[in-house]
């Protein structure tokens, strides 16, 4: 993901905005997204016009934050902290989609440029003005990787002369780039376990009998909630790998892999997954799927996931060994529920079995902790009433 095209502004210069407001729509390779703001104030200047395609990290607008004096000439500032919890590394898949349209954040005052010497040297060699590069390092520092990414965007490429790829092809390219990066950089390990879903499915059937049609649950919601609850005990799996360091995230925002009709997928976040009741989670889940397929996800939903859950059970898959979305450090996969013979107290009985997998990043965790995590997920699913 290198660039995004501004489709429209929803606000004008002088409009007041509050944190969380949607101010623009941006088309990216992954999806059309709604760009939120992360500060409260007044739009002071708009820098990008509809139809313009700009590199990831480009400042789109300036916002005068509340309580700060009006600046007659808005400084040409860069985003220093686009989204605090956002994956900022280049070219990831779904979770990075929103990076193409960073929320406009203001650094009031004089422009400061933080860039490492090696990054500056490369920028000079490539003839790129470092001030035009969005820094993704600590405090907005421009890293070598940022320069390399900018070079891909700035450099004239044969592809520019070619007809523009359609959305599906661009999405495939973006996914391919993210997955290639993941496989290149992340030392994956894979674990699997079989979970007995008999109790959970029986509980679910009984629960749905009591619920109205609109409130009924799908078993996928139980799985997602169980993962989120288990993550509380394994914070190292809930986070990002940024600038060579693991960053455990205090909030649990499970990214849900959602396939799109016509191909491709996105993995937007169900915010605070562990803190939502099943009813709330189901509602959020339904809403997220509908909006993902309608192309109306919010930027924070694409940048905030701290782990991804994918399920291919409906496609008949028994086990999923997924590729981690960088900069996340883990991915949980679920296959289909199948009836299997199981020996219990000397008797062969039928059990509804589900294969759960964990793809982990060895830079952050190992098989021992990963195995304990999967065991925790299984244990939680044996007490579905506690979800």
């Amino acid at each position: 993901m290198n660039a995004g095209k501004l489709l429209q502004w929803r606000k004008r210069v002088g409009d007041k905005v509050q944190r969380g407001d949607i101010i623009a729509d941006v088309e990216t390779d992954k999806a059309d997204i709604e760009v939120e703001v992360f500060s409260t104030g007044t739009i002071e200047k708009i820098l990008i016009q509809p139809g313009e395609k700009v590199p990831v990290g480009t400042v789109m607008a300036l916002i005068r934050e509340e309580g700060k004096p009006f600046a007659a000439e808005a400084p040409a500032v860069r985003v220093e902290a686009a989204v605090p919890s956002a994956p900022k590394s280049p070219a990831p898949a779904a979770p990075q989609g929103a990076a193409a349209a960073p929320p406009p954040t203001i650094e009031a005052g004089a422009r400061r440029l933080h860039i490492s010497p090696v990054a500056r040297k490369l920028a000079d060699e490539l003839g790129i003005d470092p001030a035009t590069i969005c820094g993704t390092g600590p405090g907005g520092r421009v890293t070598l990787e940022d320069v390399q990414r900018a070079a891909q965007t700035h450099a004239p490429k044969p592809a520019e002369a070619a007809p523009e790829l359609d959305r599906a092809a661009r999405m495939r390219q973006a996914i391919g780039a993210a997955m290639a990066r993941s496989k290149r950089e992340i030392p994956h390990y894979y674990l699997s376990t079989t979970i007995d879903m008999s109790r959970a499915m029986t509980w679910l059937a009984g629960e749905n009998l009591k619920r109205s049609i609109e409130d009924r649950l799908v078993y996928g919601v139980l799985l997602v909630k169980a993962v989120a609850m288990a993550l509380r005990q394994f914070p190292e799996l809930n986070g990002l790998w940024v600038e060579g360091k693991a960053i455990a995230k205090p909030e649990i925002h499970v990214g849900i892999a959602i396939s799109l009709r016509g191909g491709g997928l996105v993995a937007p976040a169900l915010h605070n997954t562990d803190r939502q009741s099943l009813r709330e989670l189901m509602k959020s889940f339904r809403d997220l799927v509908q909006r993902a397929r309608a192309g109306s996800l919010r930027s924070s939903e694409l940048t905030d996931p701290t782990i991804t859950v994918t399920s291919l059970g409906e496609q008949g898959v028994e086990a999923v060994f997924g590729v981690i979305y960088p900069p996340q450090v883990a991915l949980v996969g679920f296959g289909k529920i199948v009836e299997r013979p199981c020996v219990s107290e000397g008797q062969i009985v039928a059990r509804r079995a589900l294969t759960a997998t964990l793809s982990g990043d060895h830079r952050v965790s190992d098989g021992h902790r990963g195995g304990l995590f999967l065991a925790a997920v299984e244990r939680i699913l044996q007490e579905p009433g506690q979800l």
């Binding site: 059937a205 749905n208 009998l209 049609i213 609109e214 009924r216 799908v218 996928g220 396939s259 009709r261 016509g262 889940f285 339904r286 799927v289 509908q290 409906e314």
Partner: protein, 83 residues
């Protein structure tokens, strides 16, 4: 309601779930799921749409009876006769 009217109502519910679908090409005896690239969440939304469109209750145990277009029409017609 006639079967044609029921069919139209089903198409309206389907359009909410899979707006890109060409409902005129739906084969009546083939599973909707196999024809329309829809998943369990879509099916749930479809059932909710049918519930709202026809004002009928649909127990979860009856979902399999809504698997095909003909199945949906039969189910809804019967439910309406009983109300």
């Amino acid at each position: 309601m006639t079967r044609d009217e029921i069919r139209d109502g089903i198409f309206r519910a389907l359009a909410q779930v899979a707006p890109e679908a060409d409902v005129s090409r739906i084969k009546p005896n083939v599973r909707l799921r196999d024809q329309l690239d829809i998943d369990s969440m879509d099916l749930l939304n479809f059932v909710i749409g049918v519930h709202k469109e026809f004002k009928i209750e649909i127990p979860e145990a009856d979902y399999p009876r809504l698997a095909t277009l003909d199945g949906c029409i039969d189910y809804i017609a019967k439910a309406q006769r009983q109300t």
